[in-house]
Amino acid sequence: MPTDLSDYVSSRAAVLDRVRRMLREAMKLRIEPESIDPDVPLFGTGLGMDSVDAVELVVQLDAVFGLTLAGSPWVSAKLRTVNTVVDAIMELRDEP
């Protein structure tokens, strides 16, 4: 595997793991972190989060990852699945 791909995959997997653990704790999910699928929807179906959970999630993402979503017009796009949250954190890391 090329080094840059290997680095990207390792970095992404590490963020995914942290997001899963954060979700498990913040949402008090009674499942193992690895049982949270990366493309699982956060709201409505999937993890079944509601608007109260959304507020808690936004606070946690800011506190744990420095990802500020409050007031962002793109918040609904970034909080669709576990993977879209990971995307947002990875983009934040790429910012100069």
Binding site: M1, P2, L5, Y8, V9, R12, A13, L16, I31, S35, I36, D37, P38, D39, V40, P41, G44, T45, G46, L47, S76, A77, R80, T81, N83, T84, V86, D87, M90
Partner: protein, 353 residues
């Protein structure tokens, strides 16, 4: 209408579809929930008036039916895809305790299913049924004099599945077609519904290449209980103990990528395409692939489908692939008539490899 016209209706206005591929039954009796719980893979923790999405698995743990369970007083309505009503009845007979007191009623042909989907589907429904339908939460339902309205859908847009009395359904169809027509829409086929489901990452039992896969690889673990027994549970436990080595991942490509194609990186094979279709919204191919677990992540440009002439690059992405209009449309503030699509971001915010 062409598939592209149908797609534009559904993604930008509202589209009407016949749901002849969906089974509709009512299981009644004081043990109805317990009997259904015995055949479904998920925990049926849902209150009356709400809908839960679950699966029925085969003995090898592979999904054979995609099921909505709708608890309704002393009964449950089931909407399901992938198996026939007779197969569902046989499944209940095989796996539910024979001592349970239930009555099984096929609601077809007394009722037929049609659906309205789109960012302005709520506008058609509020005129056809009642303005109160706007407040109906996703995955809930309510009865009206000629049927039942299920706030559901697998397109990423506002969606309503309607079980309508057969003697009234053609009249309802004509009325709704006129209403969606005023919203720039029309009829949408099953092919268009499946394309929209693919773009938004919804599971479809009709994605043929998914056969043999379990909810673990399909990213459907949230529909599998760790607390109860159900058909296929042993296979799921064995697969989980053995460890998963592949996972479904979404991708886009410019062209020429099809279901069943192998996927390579520079070192050789890394996976296989399980579903792919041209997406007018993306202007290229939207697809799903089963990739080696260590590589099954979005944001990778290193894969390609080898062909005799030229390699076809793919880019893995997070699903949903689209920024659905329904995320921007607030029924309390917007209407189709006052929409301004020039100020909306495009459906597809990415770029093709």
């Amino acid at each position: 209408m062409s598939l592209e016209d149908e797609y534009r209706s559904l993604r930008h206005g509202a589209a009407l579809s016949r749901m002849d591929h969906v089974g509709l039954v009512r299981v009644s009796g004081e043990d109805a929930t317990e009997a259904i719980d015995a055949i479904c893979s998920g925990d049926l923790w849902v209150r009356d008036g709400r809908i839960i999405q679950t699966l029925i698995l085969g003995e090898q743990g592979q999904p054979v039916a995609d099921v909505y369970v709708c608890p309704d007083d002393d009964s449950c309505i089931l909407m399901f895809e992938g198996i026939t009503t007779e197969e569902l009845s046989a499944c209940l007979s095989q796996y539910a305790d024979p001592e349970l007191e239930i009555e099984f009623e096929d609601l077809r042909p007394a009722y037929e299913l049609i659906s309205v989907n789109g960012p302005y589907a709520w506008e058609a429904m509020s005129k056809w049924l009642t303005p109160d339908v706007i407040g109906l939460p996703y995955l809930s339902f309510y009865h009206f004099d000629r049927g039942t309205c299920f706030r559901a859908g697998k397109t990423g847009e506002y969606g309503y599945d309607l079980a309508i009395r057969s003697d009234y359904v053609e009249h309802a169809w004509e009325e709704l077609l006129e209403l969606v027509g005023a919203l720039g829409g029309g009829e949408a086929s099953l092919e268009t519904l499946d394309l929209c489901a693919l773009e938004n990452g919804f599971f479809s039992v009709r994605h043929a290449s998914a056969s043999g896969l379990t909810p673990l690889e399909l990213q459907l673990q949230w529909r599998v209980s760790a607390r109860k027994s159900f058909p296929g549970a042993t296979s799921i436990q064995e697969r989980r103990a053995k460890g998963m080595n592949r996972r479904l991942t979404h991708f886009v490509a410019r062209e020429g990528v099809h279901s069943g194609d192998p996927i390579h990186d520079v070192d050789g094979p890394v996976g296989q395409v399980t579903a792919a279709a041209f997406s007018p919204g993306i202007g290229g191919v939207a697809g799903m692939a089963l990739l080696d677990l260590s590589l099954a992540h979005p944001g990778i440009d290193a894969f390609f489908v080898p062909t005799a002439n030229a390699d076809r690059p793919i880019r893995t992405l997070s699903s949903p692939l689209l920024f659905n209009r329904s995320l921007l449309v607030d029924p309390h503030q917007h209407t189709y008539g006052t929409r301004d699509e020039t100020n909306d971001p495009p459906l597809w915010l990415g770029s093709l490899p």
